[in-house]
């Protein structure tokens, strides 16, 4: 398999020969480093920064290879190859992450060069998926398809990828750096809890510009980002981004890992941070950083619309089970007669974000048949087929059902974000996955899930918050208490336009009682809601007290 077998209309960025040559050089370099490590010529202290630069972690049970999926875009050839890698070098699974990447949890060090070669065959790699560099930029999984899009964010996400990949000035930042970009006024990328969150928009003349937020983040110190600029013209985008990174790179607190993220700097400096960025921006040689419209157009050509047929919208098939799935999984498309389909990777009792090799191949086949060979990975650990003919939805549903991928729970209580937790992660202090599994089993009834309505539960297995628990309607944080797992609960978080950090509700719950606690929260919500209210709406209206009373009332 190679790039020549790509689906012709999939709108993913295509490497050129220079890109491919670089990847081969990089693999050869890392292969040599691995050989020297295995031969005992490099110590772990010497090898660790080298392996991290290539996305290779050492976790609780094995090495883990994190593969970059630039802004969550895949074509079917790439997804099929990921399935092949999972089957050949892992245990037949991959785990899709909140950074829209994929992780292989059972990697052997000696297999890594072959895995990287297999990735390179489809223009993929694991560079900058670890370390204190600019990580994978994330974007809207419905880009290029959603009716509410003002600017296609993929174009600028790719520009950011090219700018940030191997950028010599930003290879050793004080800490890792995460950027999210959206081109819709409805934030689906959690922009305000990123190191930099970018909203691409248009002015009254139709020109593209960017609203820039900085200093958001989760982890030990959750903070909502500060808006730096309401408008940066397209041509100045990289200059301004570089100015933000420069100020952070110069002043970030490298001496204290817990204070080294940009959010601490922005919080501490406040408006002075904004002014410093402006001063840096003003003194930069702007011509050198000017984003040439021709370059934008050339990159934009990679993301031109696929050859849509001229169709009209049509009614859904009458099958009630199909309709239940469609009500959760099918989303309006900007092109008449088409829809976007979200594929749940959250089967009842399953592992959030996991897909088997067979499932990856099934989705690749279905994407080829029904979505121009395009697939997206969402930051809530699901997949999307962005461009599906409405007349094909019923057949697609059948294909997804056959692959065990038709759980109709998108946006519902069992559509849970969960980090790998202590089952895999060396940093974790508690398990996440079994909590997610038990909650989804408790709320297995789809009728009940639909009655509860939109409710986001996010679970992190440690304070680093990879499971985004702070911005969930119901956030669960697993911590270690004298060698045993306990779970704190936060309420009222949000990762959308009304971004908010959840409020810690009280003492933690044990592994055995946390699911009951969630049930109590839902029962309380049902008792207090008025028609049309989601969990978050009721929480905001009635406040924390009824929930706290219900959870901690004496028996």
């Amino acid at each position: 398999m190679n790039a020549l077998t790509y689906p012709p209309h999939a709108r993913t960025y295509r490497y050129d020969e220079i890109d491919r040559e670089f990847l081969q050089e990089r693999i050869a370099e890392f292969r040599g480093q691995i050989e020297r490590r295995l031969a005992g010529e490099l110590t772990e202290d010497e090898f660790k920064p080298l392996r991290l630069m290539n996305g290779l972690y050492l976790q609780l049970h094995a090495y883990m290879l994190r593969v970059a999926i630039p802004y969550g875009l895949l074509n079917s050839a790439q997804l099929r190859q990921l399935g092949r890698i999972a089957r050949r070098w892992d245990r037949g699974f991959g785990h899709f992450t909140t950074r829209q990447n994929i992780q292989f949890n059972w990697t052997k060090l000696e297999d890594v060069p072959a895995m990287l070669e297999a990735l390179a065959e489809v223009d993929m790699h694991a560079i900058q998926t670890s370390g204190n560099c600019i990580r994978n930029t994330t974007t809207d999984e419905y880009a290029g398809a959603t009716p509410d899009e003002v600017v296609d964010p993929r174009v600028y996400a790719e520009i950011l990828r090219q700018w940030s990949t191997l950028h010599p000035e930003f290879t050793w930042l004080p800490r890792k750096f995460k950027i999210a970009i959206t081109g819709s006024p409805n934030d689906r990328v959690a922009a305000q809890v990123h190191d930099v969150g970018v909203l691409a928009k248009r002015n009254e003349r139709g020109e593209v510009g960017f609203e820039i937020h900085a200093g958001g983040g989760l982890g030990r110190t959750p903070i909502i980002a500060r808006k730096l600029r309401d408008w940066v013209p397209e041509a100045e985008f990289l200059a301004y981004m570089e100015a933000v990174l420069r100020v952070y790179n110069a002043l970030g607190q490298r001496e204290n890992i817990y204070k080294a993220r940009i959010k601490i700097l922005v919080r501490d400096l406040g408006d002075e941070f904004t002014q410093m960025v402006e001063r840096e921006y003003e003194r930069m040689p702007r011509d050198r950083y000017r984003l040439d419209p021709e370059i934008v157009a050339a990159i934009g050509a990679h993301f031109a619309p696929p050859p849509f047929a001229s169709l009209e919208d049509q009614a859904l098939h009458a099958d009630p089970e199909f309709r239940q799935w469609a009500s959760a999984s099918v989303r309006a498309h900007r092109q008449p007669g088409y829809a976007s389909v979200t594929i749940s990777l959250k089967p009842i009792g399953g592992i959030p974000g996991d897909a088997s090799a067979d499932q990856m191949e099934a989705v690749a086949d279905l994407a080829e048949r029904h979505s121009f060979g395009e697939i997206r990975v969402t930051h809530v650990q699901n997949l999307v087929l962005p461009h599906v003919r409405q007349e094909d939805l019923y057949a697609l549903w059948g294909g997804l059902r056959a692959a065990g991928l038709a759980t109709p729970n998108i946006g519902l209580i069992s559509d849970i974000i969960a980090c790998p937790g202590m089952d895999y992660c060396a940093l974790a202090t508690a398990r996440s996955i079994p909590i997610a599994q038990r909650i989804s089993e408790r709320f297995a009834s789809l009728d009940r899930q639909h009655d509860i309505g939109e409710c986001f539960i996010n679970i992190s297995g440690c304070i680093n918050a990879c499971g985004h628990h702070h911005v969930a309607h119901i956030g669960i944080l697993g911590v270690d208490k004298r060698g045993e797992e306990v779970y704190q609960v936060t309420l009222g978080g949000s990762a959308t336009n009304d971004a908010a950090i959840g409020e810690l509700i009280g003492p933690a719950f044990s592994y055995d009682t946390i699911v009951d606690a969630v049930e109590t929260l839902i029962t309380t919500y049902i008792a207090h809601r008025v028609p049309g209210e989601r969990f978050i709406d009721t929480y905001r209206r009635v406040g924390v007290t009824p929930f706290k009373d219900a959870l901690y009332a004496p028996a």
Binding site: E44, L60, H61, Y63, K108, E110, G350, R431, G483
Partner: protein, 100 residues
Amino acid sequence: MSTKAKARPATAPVVFTANRLRDGRVVWLGTAGLWRDAITETVPFAPEAAETGLALARQGERDQHVVGVYAVEVDLAGPTPLKFRERLRVQGPSVAAEAA
């Protein structure tokens, strides 16, 4: 290299664990300084002998056989790690679908 080995002095018997360099799999320090797949083949050290055990375990790092050596307090029945994290290292992920 192990930062975890700097943990507080042991108050219970300890065994030593690490990840095997070649494939990253969890291993346990057995007799004659050999690293074993099963905790049942490990050699416990009394708390007061933990430093001796650590020195032996570190040799495995110097020989480039293992990575990330650290001590694990155990109940000698089994032996069984006292902390849940290390019990997971013994059992593998608690997630049935992938533990198979």
